[in-house]
């Protein structure tokens, strides 16, 4: 994880991509979101989604998994260069999450994140707050998923 000072508004990063198989979609749905259009191809075809569709929470969880892997990869590279690595803070939440189009079985979703705003925290000295627009698009280039995430990021210079 980079420090607060290292983030610039407009910085964009490709986070990774993931193919949602029918088996994966049903496994997640059985545990957390067993609505019929997430469990059966036929029910999916007869729904607004037009096919077996991943739970939106499954899409969000995959995004988080890819984001953490990407941060850990960047941390290893930074550590190898001898740079100090920041430990990320938690997130107080998100806004404007949109499941724009269904994620259907076999779709490959590519995720990206872009820094939208940054400010220092008034309540927590030593920390900044960044807002990050996260997006997912399918193999046809269509936007399918988006949200504005919020995260605490440590300051390199704690006296700021």
């Amino acid at each position: 994880m980079r420090f607060f000072e290292d983030f610039a508004i407009g910085d964009r990063r490709e986070v990774g991509s993931f193919t949602f198989t029918a088996e994966d979609i049903k496994r997640f749905a059985r545990q957390f979101d067993p609505q019929r259009f997430h469990l059966s191809e036929e029910e999916g075809r007869n729904s607004l989604f037009g096919g077996l569709a991943a739970s939106g929470w499954h899409v969000a969880a995959v995004y988080m998994k890819l984001l953490v892997a990407d941060i850990q990869r960047a941390d290893r590279e930074a550590a190898a260069r001898g740079e100090e690595v920041a430990v990320a803070g938690p997130s107080p939440g998100f806004r404007e999450l949109r499941w724009i189009k269904p994620v259907l079985a076999g779709d490959t979703i590519s995720f990206s994140s872009e820094i939208e705003t940054k400010r220092t925290s008034e309540s927590r000295p030593g920390w900044g707050i960044v807002q990050i627009r996260n997006r997912g698009s399918n193999q046809h280039g269509e936007a399918v998923f988006s949200f504005l995430g919020i995260a605490f990021v440590p300051l390199r210079n704690k006296s700021d």
Partner: protein
């Protein structure tokens, strides 16, 4: 959700988690979201003519989910209207608050769900 979905130290390791802002092992916020989805399914969505959701207007993680927590979800309807783009459906906006056994709010979410209308015989 498997732990591999959010493998940060605050969600994986008791000792490492002590040194984070959350000061101890906590559940991933996305794991809590998925559990809230399941509680809503079991509570009412599974018996409603749900057609899916376009998103989440706002979600706040207010306090960490701790090992052993018993979570209760309260859901209110904040708006219910007929869809302009699909008049055979309605859009019902829910506000859900997940609390631990001490009544402390852990997560608050506001989300619309598309629901079939009885009088248009939509699937449901």
């Amino acid at each position: 959700m498997r732990p591999s979905s959010d493998p940060q130290p605050m969600h994986l390791d008791e000792e490492a988690a002590k040194h984070t802002m959350l000061q101890g092992l906590s559940g991933s916020g996305w794991h809590l979201c998925s559990l809230m989805m399941r509680m809503m399914f079991d509570g009412f969505i599974g018996r409603a003519a749900s057609l899916g959701s376009p998103g989440v207007n706002e979600l706040r993680w207010l306090a960490p989910l701790r090992p052993g927590d018993d979570v209760t979800l309260d859901v209110d309807v904040t708006e219910a209207r007929v869809s302009r783009s699909r008049p055979e459906t309605g859009i019902v906006t829910f506000r859900g608050i997940a609390r631990n056994a001490r009544g402390q709010a852990l997560c608050e979410m506001v989300s619309p769900i598309i629901i079939g209308r009885r009088d248009t015989a939509g699937r449901g």
